[in-house]
């Protein structure tokens, strides 16, 4: 890490650094509009509120002027009440439309962004396994939450109010010119100075914003890495060095912020100062004209008010600009994700074989996860309906890949995978997967109740079916003992259940699914004998009358299979019944000797180390 300062790249766990791009991008805006379109009535209503709000706001100084000129100066106390009411009405009008505008905008924003979230979610569901191999979960979560939230900010604090600001500014200039164009010019005499100054500070502020973003990204990247690798830092007693590096990043970030604070403070003060000076100009020039009888008092007061209203939006413009910029880059990232085409989809005209009998055929299948590194090489075999086949072989022989191809999690490079005589690529994806029940080695449980986990959100699975499935696979007994039985909520995705219990739950899940084909990756972890017997019994029931493909690790499972396929280095090396293969005296016979010998059948290929890093553990 000693030279990490040179190339601390943002880690994948965080969103890539938003480059300070444009604050307005017509192409992105058009796409965003697609989400607003269904709620366009509210949107236009909200937009219509903008000029109304401005109008009511800008009437107020004018009423002030009228009051002073028509009533106070002429000493007509009788009309004051009316003017007060009129002013009150203008205030109420402004507030009402302001509220309406904000509320309607947020309504539209929340509705359209909720749609966007669902669309992203649904889209990600369709993406294939390769996509997930490349994209960390954290990044995808960020797309759906943080990024969408940033776009929301644009609605809340950016685009819409910028429109209102423009309307207000134009309105003020128009009114002032209409009332008295001489005074108007004097009042706004400092505007060019202000614009120049704002431009000066904004350019600098923008540079320091970019620095700040770069530097906070470095801090985050460094933190992420340091936290994940804290054990290594500690093991090498490099705490002091790591701290020095961190401090350096931290300090650089602080420095950049100091400068940006100074620019912002200067900008803020400048606007306030210039508006004060403009007051002075108004009083000075207006005063002369009043003394000369050419101007009414009310106009003077009204102009002071108008100038005040004029400078506020100018002051806030830069922060709104920044909001727009981040919103644009967030939208860019979101759309990029939405534009990622799912590599594995149902064909337009899927073929649905009837009847579904459950025949599997691998026909000269070649497959590689990466490049030309073939995990499966020319694999061919057939599993007949209701046949029980055990696949055996050493780690890395390609067993798990077979299951993934059967489910069409990945597409083969060469050859074909056929289910009931139809290439899986010609099947409707859902129909195919509905046809195949898969149980993986590490059982993934969702937070929710036991029943929900067996049912997996399906409404057509009745409570009886759930119970029946659980009973059949011997899970009913332990479920009954839970405080709330089937309605018991799993804690931390079932960490309160034992490995064996999780296995049984997965079996119940598969049984409730009632697939024609069962594919199962048998768990390697050791389980106590009693549970082991339950599992073996459950497995037998689960496989009954189903085409079953099992990546077998247990001798009993292997011996009970109708046929055994021996995989080795990505190839099918032997195939036959237990007896036949033993008699052959080949690979299987040797594997079998290995398996039958002693308790240490599974060698520690992937022992969970206590010295592993945070991320690896949670992966």
């Amino acid at each position: 890490m000693s030279s990490a300062r040179d190339q601390a790249s943002p880690t994948s766990a965080q969103a890539p650094e938003p480059d300070l791009g444009r604050a307005y991008d017509a192409r992105l805006m058009r796409r965003l509009w697609d989400y607003i379109r269904p709620y366009r009535r509210d949107f236009w209503l909200a937009t219509a509120c903008l000029p109304a709000t401005s109008a009511f706001s800008l009437t107020q100084p004018y009423i002030l002027k009228l009051t002073i000129d028509r009533f106070i100066s002429t000493k007509q106390a009788a009309g004051l009440g009316w003017m007060g009411l009129l002013f009150g009405a203008a205030v109420v009008g402004e507030i009402l439309f302001l509220y309406l505008q904000y509320y309607l905008t947020m309504l539209v924003a929340q509705k359209s962004l909720a749609d966007m979230r669902v669309e992203i979610f649904a889209h990600v569901q369709k993406l294939d396994a390769r996509f997930f191999d490349k994209n960390p979960v954290g990044r995808l979560v960020t797309r759906m939450t943080t990024d969408v939230d940033v776009i929301n900010e644009m609605f809340a604090a950016g685009a819409m109010t910028i429109l209102m600001d423009v309307a207000t500014l134009l309105g003020i200039v128009g009114i002032m010119l209409a009332i008295d164009w001489h005074l108007a010019l004097v009042s706004l005499a400092l505007l060019p100075v202000m614009l120049l100054a704002i431009n000066f500070f904004r350019t600098r502020a923008r540079i320091s914003y970019r620095l700040i973003r770069e530097r906070i990204a470095r801090i985050n990247a460094y933190l992420q890495e340091a936290i994940s690798g804290m054990t290594i830092i500690q093991l090498f007693a490099r705490e002091a060095q790591a701290f020095r590096e961190f401090e350096e990043y931290n300090d650089a970030h602080r420095q950049a912020n100091h400068w940006s604070n100074i620019y912002e403070a200067a900008l803020f003060s400048l606007v306030e100062g210039i508006s004060s000076i403009s007051f002075a100009l108004i009083v000075w020039y207006g005063g002369r004209r009043i003394l000369g009888g050419a101007l009414a008092f009310g106009t003077l007061v009204a102009f002071i008010e108008y100038v005040q209203k004029f400078f506020v939006p100018i002051r806030d413009f830069s922060s709104k600009y920044a909001v727009m910029q981040s919103a644009m880059s967030a939208a860019e990232r979101v759309f990029q994700l939405l534009d990622t085409p799912p590599a594995i989809t149902s064909p337009e005209h899927p073929r649905v074989p009837e009847p579904k009998r459950g025949r599997i055929e691998f026909d000269h299948v070649w497959f590689a996860y990466k490049g030309e590194d073939f995990i499966l090489q020319d694999v061919s075999f057939v599993v007949e309906p209701a046949e029980k086949v055990a696949i055996v072989g050493a780690t890395g022989a390609g067993k798990t890949t077979i299951i993934k191809l059967l489910n069409r999690f990945y597409d083969v490079q060469r050859g074909r995978v056929l289910v009931d005589g139809v290439d899986v690529r010609e099947w409707d994806l859902n129909a195919l997967r509905r046809h195949i029940g898969a149980v993986s080695q590490d059982v993934f449980l969702f937070s929710g109740t036991i029943a929900e986990n067996i049912r997996l959100d399906r409404t057509d699975v009745s409570a009886d079916t759930v119970r029946h499935a659980a009973t059949t696979v011997n899970a009913h007994r332990f479920i009954e003992r839970l405080p709330e039985a089937y309605d018991d909520r799993l804690r931390e995705r079932g960490s309160n259940l034992s490995t064996g219990q999780r296995q049984l739950l997965a079996f119940a899940r598969a049984l409730a699914y009632d697939p024609t084909i069962l594919v199962l990756d048998e768990a390697t972890s050791s389980i106590d004998t009693e549970t082991e017997i339950l599992i073996q019994d459950a497995l037998a029931k689960l496989m009954a009358n189903r085409t079953s493909v099992i990546i077998a690790h247990r001798l009993s499972t292997i011996e009970n299979a109708d046929r055994i396929i021996v995989m080795h280095h990505g190839q099918v090396r032997e195939s036959g019944t237990h007896r036949e293969l033993l008699a052959m005296g080949g690979l299987y016979a040797r594997l079998h000797t290995l398996q039958t010998r002693g308790a240490l059948a599974e060698m520690p290929h992937a022992e969970q180390s206590p010295v592993s890093t945070a991320d690896a553990r949670k992966a």
């Binding site: 601390a8 790249s9 009533f71 205030v91 509705k111 604070n261 000076i277 009083v283 002693g598 206590p610």
Partner: protein, 579 residues
């Protein structure tokens, strides 16, 4: 909150100056409406141009001074906020460095990150803009009200009539706002954990064709979140207008009542304009009140979450009376060692009554099946965990009496999971030392069997390995971590199944090189291929936390127990792999 105070106190000097500047700014700000009044009164009484010009000039002067002072006050206080942020991050990082492995196993990296990033920001907001407004708001109120009272007490009371009501409304709103904000935040948390879970289990979702149902379930949560957000938007939308009403109602009262006073001659037109000016000055602090309340609440909540880190005791640290060994020879002794991950009785023991004596320069091999406790033994040596009972001695001294830095520097540890930093190959190898010589780096790489690979890299030793070594193969990563451990030439080497992704032939070559180059060092090796550790001085077969067989290769073979059986199986496996 006490911790927060210590940071405030640390910067009390600059806060004081900042607050003084705020006071000055407020004073100058308050002068402007008054000067406007004087100027207008001058005009109204036909006082002539000189008076008007004088006051206008004064306003310009004040505006200029104020500009400087205001810039100063804001920059100063916001920068103090940044300084506190900087300190806070440093302190957090330093504290995290002291926390043991067990802490990191319970804590998600993402959660820690969020504390160090988001919560620190919330605290900074409180100590920067929060403090500024906290000082400014009362200042403006006291000043403004005082001046208005001096101009016309009755009009002041009338104009400020809506304000007490406003306080009640703010109080009501801030409670509601807090409640709704919390609800929305919880909703968001639910939303993201739902997504997180779905994506983590996407293979199950896909296998069971549950995509649509999952989407429907997500849509339901999303809908709830939308409703919550809309309610929050409603409350937020109301708050701002209500705040605006107060100051505008004040103006209404001024027109009505104040206008009458002017007509009756009890009040000058200038006074009326000044009043309008003061109400305008009060409008922003009033509106900022609600915002400030939420900053205050968020800052406190964030500090609370940071305190959770700060109050976690570094369970494994130097003993107060720790003293270094003059020279580390590498004599390791495990004496009746017991260990359990959860100390509070309920954790089932991982290691039980373990005793091994390893002379300096000897090699100990630990074998046994998954979960037997081998890696735990390795982790106990550099005190990644502390033993629950018994002792681990280094050169006759309990490791807990040694300075942690010395103990850990004496042990070259190669973990199972090869963690690399996203920097160059060279920097990764040199991670453990301050100023490594190029030859030493090359030598370490050579012993680890990596130099050939490095030469093949496009940029050699300057190749950036990418995040967590993503650009390297498993075997390369492992050999890199080995080289990293070798470079400081520690007296003790611990290899925790460190070559599992390396093929048998390479593993053998590396171990031979290690033997030749590092022969004089004490070694503890966990390996999954028995053939590679046969020549160890002591081989311990660990099973279920016990040492079940102990001796050298010949003795264990003669014993014909688990070890002998493992060896036979592996021979067979190796044969199989050769096919």
């Amino acid at each position: 909150m006490r911790r927060l105070l210590t940071y405030l106190v640390r910067y009390r000097g600059r806060y004081a100056i900042g607050c003084f500047c705020l006071l000055a700014t407020a004073t100058l700000a308050m002068a402007v409406p008054y000067l406007l009044k004087r100027a207008i009164d001058e005009v109204a009484h036909g006082g002539g141009l000189r008076g008007v010009s004088f006051y206008a000039g004064l306003i310009v002067g004040i505006a200029l001074i104020q500009g400087v002072v205001r810039t100063f006050s804001r920059a100063l206080i916001f920068n103090v906020g940044r300084d506190v942020e900087y300190d806070l991050r440093n302190d957090l990082f330093r504290h995290l460095e002291c926390l043991p492995l067990a802490f990191y196993q319970q804590q998600q990296t993402g959660d820690l990150m969020s504390r160090l990033v988001n919560d620190v920001t919330a605290v900074r907001m409180l100590l920067g803009p929060g403090v500024l407004n906290l000082v400014n708001t009362p200042l403006y109120y006291v000043y403004g009200v005082a001046i208005m009272l001096s101009l016309d007490p009755r009009l002041t009371v009338a104009a400020l009539l809506p304000y007490p009501l406003l306080l009640l409304v703010v109080k009501h709103f801030s409670r509601k706002l807090m409640e709704y904000t919390m609800r929305v935040q919880e909703g968001l948390a639910e939303l993201s954990s739902r997504v997180q879970e779905n994506l983590s289990g996407i293979h199950v979702v896909r296998a069971y064709a549950a995509e649509e149902r999952q989407t429907a379930a997500f849509a339901a949560i999303n809908e709830r979140f939308k409703q919550q957000s809309m309610e929050l938007a409603r409350i937020r939308g109301q708050l701002f207008p209500v705040m605006r009403t107060a100051s505008s109602l004040g103006t209404l009262v001024l027109l009505w009542y104040g206008g009458g006073e002017v007509i009756d001659g009890r009040l000058s037109l200038g006074d009326l304009v000044a009043f309008i000016g003061y109400l305008n000055l009060l409008a922003w602090p009033t509106m900022a009140m609600g915002w400030m309340l939420s900053i205050l609440q968020r800052g406190r909540a964030a500090m609370h979450r940071l305190d959770h880190i700060f109050t976690t005791e570094p369970a494994i640290a130097d003993a107060p009376d720790a003293s270094p060994l003059p020279v580390v020879r590498g004599h390791i002794e495990l004496r009746d060692v017991e260990f359990a991950y959860r100390t509070a009785g309920n954790g089932h023991p991982i290691l039980q009554r373990l005793s091994i004596d390893l002379a300096p320069g000897q090699m100990l091999a630990l074998v046994g099946r998954t979960g037997s406790g081998k890696s735990t033994i390795a982790a106990l040596l550099p005190r990644l965990y502390d033993v629950v009972a018994g002792q681990i001695l280094l050169d006759g001294r309990d490791v807990r009496t040694l300075p942690l830095a010395q103990l850990r520097r004496s042990i070259g540890f190669v973990p199972q999971d090869p963690f690399l930093f996203s920097t160059t190959v060279r920097a990764n190898i040199a991670f453990g030392v301050d100023s490594p010589g190029e030859t030493a780096i090359h030598r370490a790489a050579t012993i680890a069997g990596l130099s050939q690979d490095i030469d093949d890299f496009p940029r050699g030793y300057d190749t950036v390995v990418g995040e967590r070594g993503i650009t390297l193969s498993g075997g390369q990563k492992q050999r890199l971590t080995l080289a990293r451990a070798l470079l400081p030439e520690p007296p003790i080497l611990v290899l925790d199944d460190a070559l599992s992704s390396v093929d048998t032939r390479t593993e053998r070559a590396i171990l031979t090189a290690l033997e030749q180059e590092m022969g004089g060092r004490t070694r503890v090796v966990i390996a999954h291929r028995i053939s590679t550790i046969q020549h160890a001085d002591i081989i311990a077969v660990v099973d279920d936390g016990h040492i079940v067989e102990l001796g050298d290769h010949a003795a264990l073979l003669a014993h014909d127990g688990i070890y002998a059986e493992m060896l036979r199986q592996q021979r067979l496996e190796e044969e199989l792999a050769e096919l």
